[in-house]
């Protein structure tokens, strides 16, 4: 017996979906999608499941993660039901399902909640900075510790359990049936997709988009490594300093391009922006931008007299690390690669 949620399309609207009930099931979206294939035909099936309110089937499905949103389906949809945006909304919905804390769903559905969370964290950082007497040395020290602790905490208590939940939902019908060997054999796929996102290359539009994404991911991961493990803000090593400058510059330049295209709305992919999309690109931009100038201020020796900049950077960093990374769009990075991994595991098992 399948459970039906008749309010499902209404609920999806708060995640950004449009009038999916307009769909008349012609399958044009699936046919124009260059990523859709015989094993995984989407997005029409997802629209059908959404219209019927079959939540469990959607929860089990990895199809939303297979879409990289070139927008061709939305451009050509004869009913203008925006299948591309539906897939995006389903990704948000899935994130909120995977998330055991329930915070993702709250933040996606309510702009007020997101704003409140951002303000609380900003106030907290300001209070802490005031408590430390705005002492640059102490703030830099604690900031560096915060990064390490936050990474460990978010990964261990949020992301890891969420990925386990994703696995649980995805394989809900076949948990015990899959041999361990399938998981080990497929593990390569996880890392290949995580670090190359090569699937995007299959999209008709996106050779450039793929490249921008790729250097953004690499810039971001390297900057994380440089600041956390090479102590960018504390080091005297010229190579590390230069590396950090390049990485942070890459981040704010690429995200600036992304923000601009979301403002211009020329491409299908940037036509519709949910608050969570804005948070993601703007905060990533601010991260790169403030990090760049913090290091610059250190190098020209004016940070001590301009500690406000570091406090600003810390606010952005805390909001990023405690809201966007565990509960927001950042998780795409993980879920997309795990989705590819799980699909490979499934196909190995059926063979």
């Amino acid at each position: 017996m399948a459970k039906i949620n008749p309010e499902f399309t209404k609920e999806l609207k708060s995640y950004g979906a449009f009038d999916v009930n307009a769909c008349y099931n012609c399958g044009n979206c699936t046919a124009v999608c260059s990523l859709s294939d015989e094993e995984n035909s989407f997005p029409r099936k997802m629209i059908r499941l959404s219209v019927l309110g079959l939540e469990e089937d959607i929860q089990m499905s990895l199809d939303p993660w297979l879409c990289y949103y070139c927008g061709e389906c939305s451009t050509t949809c004869p009913r203008q039901a925006e299948p591309g945006e539906l897939m995006m909304s389903l990704r948000r919905w899935l994130i909120s399902k995977y998330d055991w804390t329930g915070l993702s769903g709250l933040l996606y559905k309510s702009f007020t909640a997101s704003l409140t969370a951002f303000i609380i964290l900003a106030t907290g950082v300001l209070w802490f900075a005031a408590y430390q007497g705005f002492n640059p040395e102490k703030l830099l020290h604690y900031g560096h510790y915060f990064e390490m602790i936050a990474i460990a905490f978010v990964f261990a208590f949020i992301l890891l359990p969420d990925i386990i939940r994703m696995w649980w939902f995805t394989f809900s019908k076949e948990h015990s049936k899959i041999p361990l060997s399938a998981y080990t054999k497929a593990i390569g796929d996880l890392f290949v997709h995580m670090f190359t996102q090569k699937r995007t290359l299959g999209c008709d539009d996106s050779q450039v988009r793929w490249f921008e994404h790729l250097i953004l991911v690499f810039g971001y991961l390297l900057l994380l490594f440089t600041t956390v493990f090479l102590d960018w803000f504390g080091t005297n090593n010229t190579f590390v300093i230069a590396l950090g400058y390049i990485e942070s510059a890459i981040i704010f330049v690429v995200t600036f391009i992304f923000v601009l295209s979301r403002v211009k709305k020329e491409k299908e992919v940037s036509k519709h922006s949910h608050p969570s999309d804005w948070f993601f690109v703007i905060w990533l931009f601010l991260m790169g931008f403030t990090a760049f100038f913090v290091r610059l201020f250190i190098d020209i020796n004016i940070l001590n007299t301009n500690i406000w900049l570091y406090v600003l950077h810390l606010i952005v960093l805390v909001q990023w690390a405690l809201l966007i990374v565990p509960f927001g769009k950042w998780t795409h990075f993980l879920y997309r690669s795990f989705a590819m991994y799980f699909i490979r595991v499934k196909s190995l098992n059926t063979k």
């Binding site: 012609c26 399958g27 044009n28 699936t30 294939d37 451009t75 004869p78 203008q80």
Partner: protein, 434 residues
């Protein structure tokens, strides 16, 4: 400036000489009214005269149209102006309309032309034939097609080199290059709008490759290939002249599609595609025919039986909208679609693809009404403010609408609509004489 000719007076002005306008004109003329029938093309008969057979009876379209067309052209109460458009129409008072019409020169004196085609033979200029929808060529001096009415030559002045060969070849000396545009003032008591429809231009859907892939044709081109006056006398694919043996139909090309601005059903494509599929099974007994559809709309009398007959004959029906078409090196085409029954995206190879193009409104006529507004419906067809009780009425009292000018419909409905318009026009005219 076109030459201003004398003022003409009639009872009714019928704009459009297709099957609906023709039916209206004929009914009105039979009652005794004097009718002026305007046709912008060189021949009356509209789109129907170009068709192969009609659904669901498979009667020959030309065999129904030609007697009617000949009756219209020989009727003493009907005057036909071909190559003529209405420039402006004004309502002066109830039962008083004044229209300015523009007659383009044909450069042939029609009554003197015997249709001998010697001018065609003599003409050195070849261009594509619009009446065969670009499948073959014609000369610059030409007779539109063999069952045209009037069956008289015309000079395509845009492509003519003015060499004079046709003039020298003409045995009756009916070619006259001194003809110019003529403008008339027409006084009538009532107007019937029967301006028909336009076919959807599939160039607007580049992912179907029409215009780029030679073996992707429109349903009207296939209609010409199947008609008695067909250009090749068999079915050939345009790319290399091969006889196709695996033909695909793509339904809803330009219909029910908001992205091309036409969200409504064209009402005829399902049935004409099923008809063509049946005719093709006769013309090419070994060929496979596949129809890709969204929903088959077989709602008229005998339509569903006709659909079932096609299935029994072996026409394959696949539910799924074709998303894109690509071309192989050998000119065959790959259709990508989602098979809705199984929910799986598939690709199929066909050696010829027919795009079942839809019906679009012909909006020009609303602009010719100057002092009154001929209202259009939300889809830009002529509006019917009283569609249930009085379907031929428009927003202007005394102006009536017939046929596909008011919306997509098939041939029997167009003829019915033409009849309704003539009846309502009669009742309007009778009120004038009371």
């Amino acid at each position: 400036m076109p030459e201003q000719k004398e003022t003409l007076e009639y009872d009714v002005l019928v704009v459009g000489g297709g099957i609906a306008g023709g039916e209206s004109a004929l009914n009105l003329a039979n009652i005794g009214y004097k009718v002026l029938l305007l046709e912008k093309e060189l021949t009356i008969g509209g789109k129907m005269i170009l068709l192969s057979k009609v659904f669901p009876t498979l009667d020959c379209a030309a065999c129904i149209t030609t007697p009617k067309v000949s009756e219209i052209s020989r009727h003493p109460n009907i005057t036909i102006f071909t190559s003529t458009v209405a420039k402006k129409i004004n309502k002066i008072a109830e039962h008083r309309f004044e229209a300015v019409i523009l007659k383009k020169p044909r450069y042939v004196n029609v009554p003197d032309c015997t249709g001998c085609q010697l001018c065609e033979e003599a003409c050195p200029v070849s261009v594509t034939d619009q009446y065969q929808y670009g499948l073959v060529g014609r000369k610059a001096a030409y007779i539109p097609f063999s069952i045209a009415s009037p069956r008289a030559a015309a000079i395509d002045i845009d492509n003519c080199t003015l060499c004079g060969a046709c003039e020298r070849a003409c045995p009756t000396k009916c070619i006259d290059f001194t003809q110019t545009e003529e403008e008339y003032l027409v006084k009538v008591k009532s107007v019937v709008v029967a301006t028909g429809f336009n076919l959807f231009d599939p160039l607007k859907i580049p992912r179907y490759g029409f215009g780029k892939f030679k073996n992707v044709i429109t349903s009207m081109q296939m209609e010409r290939q199947l008609a008695p006056t067909r250009p090749f006398n068999t079915i050939l694919r345009p790319g290399d002249g091969k006889m196709p043996d695996n033909i695909a139909y793509v339904l809803c090309t330009g219909s029910r599609d908001k992205t091309v601005g036409n969200p409504i059903c064209s009402q005829i494509c399902c049935m004409y595609s099923i008809k063509q599929a049946q005719l093709l099974m006769g013309a090419l007994p070994m060929a496979d025919i596949t129809i890709y559809y969204l929903h088959i709309r077989a709602f008229g009398k005998g339509f569903n039986e006709f659909y079932a007959q096609a299935q029994d004959m072996g026409v394959e029906f696949v539910k799924g909208k074709v998303g894109k078409i690509t071309e192989n090196e050998d000119g065959n085409l790959i259709l990508r679609y989602e098979d809705i029954e199984s929910g799986v995206v598939k690709e199929a190879e066909h050696d010829m693809v027919v795009l079942s193009v839809g019906v679009l409104p012909n909006m020009e006529i609303s602009e010719t009404f100057e002092n009154k507004n001929l209202e259009l419906d939300p889809f830009n067809f002529v509006g019917q403010p009283d569609i249930l009780a009085s379907p031929a009425k428009t927003s202007i009292e005394g102006v009536f609408v017939a046929g596909t000018a008011s919306g997509p419909m098939d041939i029997p409905d167009s003829i019915l609509s033409g009849g309704a318009a003539s009846a309502e026009t009669t009742s309007y005219l009778r009120r004038a004489s009371l």
